[in-house]
Symmetry: C2
């Protein structure tokens, strides 16, 4: 019997509220399919930071490096600067565990109309580079406190880093509709984006069956709104992928339910699964957060663990529950609680 050990980091706010029923549902799925799943909980969070001065213990990463996967709720809380909480927890996990692929599937869900008059068939995946690029510790302030003060930030793109994310995107496209769109800004950003384009052009030759194009990030953002059904796989840098995936979720009407996977495709380290939404201080503590983002992320985790049958069953149950539409949290126009919606998904399995 397969056994999995999962590190659970509920984090802050509604992260805690959506993670609890997700763990329950995973246990249910394991019973049903006959595999074993054990959960270790870690209280790493802004609450912990406010008590101890650190988001996680110094040996935090060692404590979870041998787990089969990480399930994360949400990180961030008012009073703790975002760059403190995120660079103290989320970003080190992504980087030290070489989770260089951030995968965000986007599709219009049945029964959730979304903001567009006529979205067409929306079904694509954003493949975001997740460990280098525009987010970096390199840089700082100069002449602080004077009129000459400035801040600089170094974006770092490596050939190895760009190559592997581009290869991942093209490989993924061969299992889908065979088209890649590369997000760039080589007309404005002088050194890194022409480099990115050059590598995309080279690596595209590995997969001659995949067609591809590049679009500048400004035009691409516009096109996501004007013609979202024209995309299959979008590959972008850390920042561009971040912007495009949130935007795409909005276009698909699914910002509150969007899932994400932070993958180390080499499997040297555990991968991490987290809903796209944040800790939502405005509704935290009320028990009304939408658990679909967390559940959908759990379904991606099951796929990654090799339990694809259970992952598919969970995703099908999510779709059926949303399509049915009887049980909805307030963000989807209903009155159900987090627990009630999760229970409805469990029943649909």
């Amino acid at each position: 019997m397969s056994r999995y050990r999962i590190a659970v980091i509920p984090g802050d706010g509604i992260g805690v509220e959506v993670t609890a029923p997700t763990v329950d549902l995973l246990e249910h799925l394991a019973d049903r399919a006959g595999f074993e799943i054990a959960f270790d909980h870690f209280d790493w969070s802004c609450a912990r930071y406010q008590e101890t001065g650190a988001m996680m213990p110094p040996d935090g990463l060692d404590q979870i490096r041998d787990h089969d996967a990480i399930l994360l709720g949400a990180v961030g809380w008012p009073g703790v600067p975002d760059h403190v909480s995120l660079w103290g927890l989320l970003i080190p996990i992504r980087r030290r565990f070489q989770q260089y692929v951030n995968l965000r599937p986007i599709s219009v869900m049945p029964g959730l109309p979304g903001p567009l008059r006529d979205p067409g068939e929306v079904d694509f995946v954003v493949v975001r580079e997740n460990v280098e690029g525009e987010y970096s510790e390199i840089g700082g302030r100069f002449s602080t406190g004077t009129a000459q003060e400035m801040a600089v930030q170094e974006a770092v793109f490596t050939r190895a880093g760009v190559t592997r994310i581009v290869d991942y995107a093209f490989d993924l496209a061969t299992t889908r509709r065979g088209h890649v769109t590369s997000a760039t800004k080589s007309n404005g950003i002088v050194h890194t984006m022409p480099f990115w384009d050059e590598i995309v052009r080279e690596r595209a030759e590995r997969q001659p069956s995949v067609s591809w194009r590049q679009e500048h990030i400004d035009a691409l953002a516009a096109k996501l709104v004007l013609d979202p059904s024209s995309f299959d796989v979008i590959v972008g840098s850390n920042l561009f992928g971040d912007i495009l995936s949130d935007l795409a979720a909005a276009v698909a009407g699914s910002i509150g339910i969007a899932p994400s996977a932070n993958l180390d495709p080499e499997r040297d380290f555990p991968s991490m699964f987290e809903p796209v939404h944040g800790s939502a201080p405005d509704i935290a503590g009320k028990g009304i957060a939408n658990p679909i983002g967390a559940l959908w992320s759990a379904s991606m985790m099951l796929d990654h663990l090799g339990e694809k049958r259970s992952g598919d069953a969970l995703l099908a149950a999510i779709r059926a529950t949303l399509a049915d539409g009887d049980v909805r949290t307030p963000d989807l126009g209903g009155t159900a609680t987090t627990r009630e919606l999760a229970a409805a998904v469990q029943e649909a399995i």
Copy 2:
């Protein structure tokens, strides 16, 4: 009688086609209102680059520095790398002439429905920082040709540069509905964006009647689609402002007609006015490009020159022509030519 000298740079592709009728219409407006306007034409373009190896002559900027304003069509053409054409013409003009404000008004135009089911009342302005930030010459390649190859790019934010764009946005908000949204990414980009936030917080105190909030660029992009009527003035860095203004134009259904102004508010140098659209090689030479972006930009130029009555008349004529809907270029679903649509606007004046 007031006299203005305008430098006209039609540039490439449809840039040439939309600039010609815009110049004619400006002459017509000048006759009508009793001011004088003289145009000097400059053939700076990718065509020039392909002949001479330079987008503009070495003393190009000196040739236009004493003009009252610059009217630009579009820059860029297949075969000339974008970073060559743009850093050889558009970006030096913006930078050397201290056009630190890039202003892009966004509104849903009568008769142009746009992609959103229910956009509400969309009427806001994107104030984009235009001379520093993420676009910079600082950086380069390292270990070229090896497996260790990398490219780095330095983003540079100065206190002076951020302060003046933020002040501009807050001042502008006092003449509108009194709300500013600041685009940030201080949760991901460690050094420059917390610096940006800090300056916004400080400078906001200058205009206590203006309310403001900050949003991370990913969430902000999503909100532009989900709730575009919640914005009044959006202020963002060079890159964020670029992305948001294209996205916003798409949301408003007006990507082909959007105008922009590159302003030196200190008036030490000429400001530059250009449609947001590019040179559009796919339809260039056919005489069917939409001239509204260029005409609307010309209306912003008239405002800037102090000929507000004429600027308003031109904008009103644009609105009336679009609302009327009889004369439309193919991008708006009609069959009119560039000249025909421009003539219709002229008639409506």
